[in-house]
């Protein structure tokens, strides 16, 4: 029992309420920034304190449930009535997530003080960011599905608010709406899955549900549907095929938002959810297969698009989609620990890359096209060095963080009972492309000739508040992977052992044995490093040494290039297949047809019916007193006659 757990959530909430109420009146940016980041920092310190306490406990006793208050009390005492407390579950997984969210979140908050400097919505930005941290912590700390869903929706709302932060521009508003609507589709699946869980297990608490599920056998149809529906929610939130389309557009928001929400934390919520429900997924091998295929396909698909994009943030966005695909691939081959490991390292290096791109955009005065950059390393050395570290980390070059986590996923994709050489092949191909497009990005941005106009543009290095978080994140991108050095490389794989109790029930169901060292593991490891190196070398050759190759390739494979450049026309296909028909049906039938004719018709019709009836009835009122007298006398005569007859 750790009594101060609610503080974790309370700090960002206080920050949100305070900045929301008084932020507009505080004229001092430093004060607003300090409050905003300070609250997240305090939350981070609380998380560290909790981690220290957990480390002092035995591995089996690290799970604690801290009840705060009753949210929905049961209506009756009978079983099956809904009881939802606001209570937080502290265990190895949620503490890890909390540390990532608050730690990376704090660095990004600090960075934002520099990045958002001078923006008229400065206080609004920090208000939303604190609300986001609050919602995200609810998501990862919840001990039941409903509270998790509250956080799930909360981060979605913040994502919407922050994508559309510069709402004066129509395109950002459209991007925000797109993100919200696409997420809504996924959330619909999540809700149905949640209802199915409640009707099956009579509770939404993780403990009760998993206890009920642990007696079921593998291949249960209900569990299959539950897991599939929850996974639909995950594809929406974590930008997997077919619902990934919102994430690249979400780059319309400020860059720190892209780093925090659309790279490091929120988009990994789906991965976290699958890991949290690992027991349910262990009971549904079919769903695992679906997840593995979707993950691998997304990893490759997004990587191919990333190869040819020219917007610095778009490349990183597709890279994020691709890396999330790797995490889902890990989940799909039942390597839950590996997926969470990659989630953590990805949070470090992708936040670093996004913040680095933000520093570039800042230094280039809002230029985002990498074709108009080049040679920037001279002007912004700190940004260049940290960005390079991030690129090496994501490419999977040892001993940086990305290597260990990605290699573990690749190995599990090959060796796991649910894996196959095909999944491994797709993933390795994706890894090669990752290295290629990352170094294409680095070279086009920082190396080579300067392709911008010197007379009008003077690139400058970012301020201290921006470069400092970059350096810390660069350190984490180097060292973050050392938490999970596999046994084959003489490491303890500390992270996997740390998370083991969380995934133990699922692994027991799957009857997964211990980790054995195979000769083939070294071969695959060597291969994955080799393809990454090949990707980097390829990018170096094409974009640095013999720049004419790039143009020749683009001309030679014109059709392919155009398809990739236009992102496989997926947006256009969705527009034609889904959006336009819905708009057309809504416009022609629901609005012009049903709303105008039927609903408005009923309202106007009843009004005109009453009016027409009144036209008839009002003739009774002549206004001539004598007519009334006649009616009066007739009435009296009638009464007298009636009395007499009686």
């Amino acid at each position: 029992m750790i009594p101060y757990t609610p503080l974790l959530v309370l700090f960002p909430l206080v920050g949100f309420i305070f900045l929301g109420l008084f932020g507009s009146r505080l004229k001092n940016e430093t004060l607003i920034g300090t409050i905003g980041s300070g609250m997240v920092g305090l939350s981070f310190l609380t998380a560290v304190a909790i981690l220290v306490e957990l480390l002092g406990m035995p591995a089996e006793g690290r799970k604690h449930i801290v009840e705060v208050f009753d949210w929905l009390s049961p209506f009756t005492d009978s079983a099956g009535s809904l009881a939802v407390p606001v209570s937080y579950q502290i265990d190895q997984l949620s503490v890890l997530m909390t540390l990532v969210v608050t730690g990376v979140g704090f660095l990004i908050h600090v960075y934002s003080i520099g990045y958002m400097h001078g923006d008229p919505g400065f206080w609004r930005f920090f208000t939303y960011m604190n609300l986001f941290i609050f919602a995200m912590l609810n998501l990862v700390l919840a001990d039941n599905f409903l509270l998790m869903f509250l956080g799930w929706e909360g981060v979605g709302l913040c994502s919407y608010l922050l994508i559309g932060f510069w709402y004066e521009k129509k395109s950002t508003g459209d991007a925000a709406k797109k993100a919200f609507v696409v997420n809504r589709i996924g959330d619909f699946g999540f809700i149905i899955g949640m209802l199915l869980i409640f009707s099956t297990f009579g509770s939404l608490k993780f403990d009760t549900v998993f206890a009920g599920a642990s007696v079921l056998s593998s291949g249960n149809t209900t569990i299959l549907w539950i897991t599939l529906l929850l996974f639909v929610g995950a594809t929406g939130k974590s930008a997997q095929i077919p619902l990934y389309v919102w994430l690249p557009d979400a780059m319309a928001g400020p860059t720190p938002v892209s780093a925090l929400i659309h790279a490091a934390t929120m988009v990994t919520a789906g991965v976290y959810m699958v890991a949290r429900c690992s027991l349910l997924y262990a009971l549904a091998p079919t769903t695992l297969l679906v997840i593995a295929i979707v993950g691998a396909a997304t990893a490759l698909f997004a990587a191919t698009i990333g190869l040819v994009q020219n917007d610095i943030k778009k490349v990183l966005a597709y890279s994020t989609v691709s890396q999330l695909g790797y995490m889902f691939l890990a989940m799909g081959v039942a390597a839950f620990g590996a997926g969470i490991f990659h989630l953590m390292t990805h949070a470090f290096f992708k936040a670093l890359l996004f913040l680095g791109s933000g520093a570039v955009i800042h230094g280039m005065h809002d230029e985002q096209d990498i074709q108009k950059m080049g040679g920037l390393k001279k002007y912004m050395p700190a940004t260049y060095r940290t960005f390079l570290i991030g690129a090496i980390a994501i490419s999977g070059i040892p001993p940086l963080a990305g290597f260990f986590s990605k290699d573990e996923i690749l190995w599990k994709a090959y060796s796991s009972e649910f894996g196959s050489p095909l999944l491994w092949g797709v993933a390795v191909l994706g890894a090669a492309m990752t290295a290629f497009y990352m170094f294409r990005l680095v070279i086009l941005t920082f190396e080579g000739k300067e392709r911008f106009d010197h007379h009008h543009l003077h690139p400058h290095e970012a301020p201290k508040s921006m470069t400092l978080p970059l350096m810390i994140l660069a350190g984490l991108s180097i060292a973050g992977g050392w938490l999970g050095i596999p046994a084959s490389l003489f490491g303890g794989n500390w992270l996997e052992h740390w998370l083991e109790p969380v995934f133990a029930p699922a692994n027991r169901k799957l009857m997964l044995g211990g980790h054995e060292i195979h000769a083939i593991e070294y071969l695959l490891m060597f291969l994955s490093v080799a393809v990454a190196a090949a990707g980097i070398y390829g990018a170096w050759t094409v974009y640095r040494k013999r720049t004419e190759i790039a143009e020749r390739l683009a001309v030679r494979f014109r059709t392919l290039y155009r398809v990739l450049f236009n992102k496989y026309y997926v947006d256009e296909v969705y527009d034609a297949a889904v959006v336009n028909p819905i708009v057309k049906v809504s416009n022609d039938y629901l609005w012009q047809g049903f709303d105008v004719t039927v609903i408005d018709g009923a309202v106007n019709g009843s009004a005109s019916l009453v009016g027409r009836l009144a036209q008839v009835l009002r003739r009774l009122q002549t206004g001539v007193a004598q007519t009334y007298t006649i009616a009066f006398v007739t009435g009296i005569l009638f009464v007298i006659t009636w009395l007499l007859v009686q």
């Binding site: 009122q621 206004g623 001539v624 007193a625 004598q626 007298t629």
Partner: protein, 100 residues
Amino acid sequence: MIPMNHYLLLSAVMFIIGAAGVMTRRNAIIVFMSIELMLNSVNLTLVAYSAFLGDVTGQVLVFFVMAVAASEAAVGLAIIIALFRRKQTVNLDEINLLKW
């Protein structure tokens, strides 16, 4: 002695004439006079019963009615004059201000 029936019959005839006048005539003055006729038919009944039963209460009531009728005549005529000044007519068909 004249039998009671005759009084009552006369009274009823006067009342019906008055009521018919109120309902059918279009001149406001005539309508006004018809109302007076109805009032007096009632007075006649009251007086007849008073004499017949040897009870003066009916006669007292008749004085009341006459007093009220006098004041009513004053007010009513004033209204008619006011109306005439405004509309230059006392034709009731043209005076339909009660309508909506």
